[in-house]
Chain length 184, copies 2
DNA sequence: CCAGCTTTCGAACCATGGTTCGAACTTCGA
DNA sequence: TCGAAGTTCGAACCATGGTTCGAAAGCTGG
């Protein structure tokens, strides 16, 4: 039940945005009463928190798997970007974790931010490793990592499922472009 | 007076975000009473609208000037990206135009979106022109333009003036990276 | 000094939307 | 069948924050 609510909530968050989504909207999407939401979750922020937690866990998993894999820096980063993008476009809630952090109360926000930073560091390690091995040109790894994350997370603002482009295509094109920019 | 209010509002929007900023906050920042705001502007959305209008005008201006200039596609795009970034980081309100469109009522939103699209088309023309002349590798101009805009607009979410990096440095690094990805 | 306009504001208004209340309904082991 | 625990919900509650009101305070030309 909890996960059904989360799925429904994530969908509405994605369509209308967190701020413009009311508890009544979430309840309707989950096909239960508004009051009943509070039997499973303490607050609206709580629901957002668990959405973000879920998608961040998925991303961290994928990052760990790729760091373990035997791959060159360029190919590893390409796959990481593609995975992140698919998580953002396919999964309903992938975007919220990186875009709606400010909506959380301090206690929850700290936890999400710390986890998100862990993910960002993983990505940065991939970028830095490539630079060290001269596969990528020298540069500020933190800055370039943020540029990559920006391009990728921004897709949630314009991409709508059912458009003329499949998530796979977007992922492919972005991964190629963003890695080529590093001078691979 | 109107412009003083706009400046103050833009500052608060940037710091706390549009949703978390109250009329009372704007009034305090502008050093006038809350009620007095309504003598100069019809609503909170109105204030946001004029902020966005202002920064979009600046960006469109710069785009037009660069399209007129005698430059190669790569250098033109590099300067465009740098200019956009400086507008986002230096000017207080440069970010809002691209990040808070959803907060506007339909009538105002249409006007901003149409103007923003005009800007996006200008950028896309630069990308497409470079591809046509084989200065950039082939690809989907619309998609890559959005990737660029994403990376650039995302800076508003993490950059804070007074950090260890000057806007100029960020602009330089981003422009190089994002144009190099096109295969220049 | 006096209309008449512009500008200002304290205090309230009121809709929105997150949240709580108390009761009913369902499930299930004894 | 009984009752306790687990679920569900309609109806209100109430804080937040955008907005309005009516009046007072400046400013200007006559």
């Amino acid at each position: 039940m909890r996960s059904a609510i989360l799925r429904a909530a994530a969908g509405v968050f994605r369509d209308r945005g967190f701020a413009d989504t009311g508890m009544r909207d979430i309840a309707e999407a989950a096909d239960i009463s508004t009051a009943n939401l509070y039997y499973y979750f303490g607050s609206k922020a709580d629901i957002l928190y668990f959405c973000q937690q879920h998608s961040l866990d998925r991303m961290l998993e994928q990052a760990a798997a790729l760091e373990r894999a035997r791959l060159g820096p360029a190919e590893r980063l390409r796959r990481m970007i593609a995975a992140h993008l698919l998580c953002t476009l396919d999964e309903l809630d992938g975007a919220a974790a990186h875009t709606e952090v400010d909506a959380l109360p301090p206690a929850l926000r700290r936890r999400i931010v710390s986890r998100r930073d862990r993910y960002e560091r993983a990505l940065r390690r991939m970028v830095a490793a490539g630079m060290r091995r001269r596969v990528f040109v020298r540069g500020d790894p933190a800055l370039l990592t943020r540029a990559i994350l920006g391009a990728v997370n921004w897709t949630a603002r314009w991409y709508r499922p059912g458009g003329r482009m499949a998530p796979q295509q977007v992922a492919q094109a972005y991964a190629d472009y963003l890695v080529r920019g590093l001078g691979a």
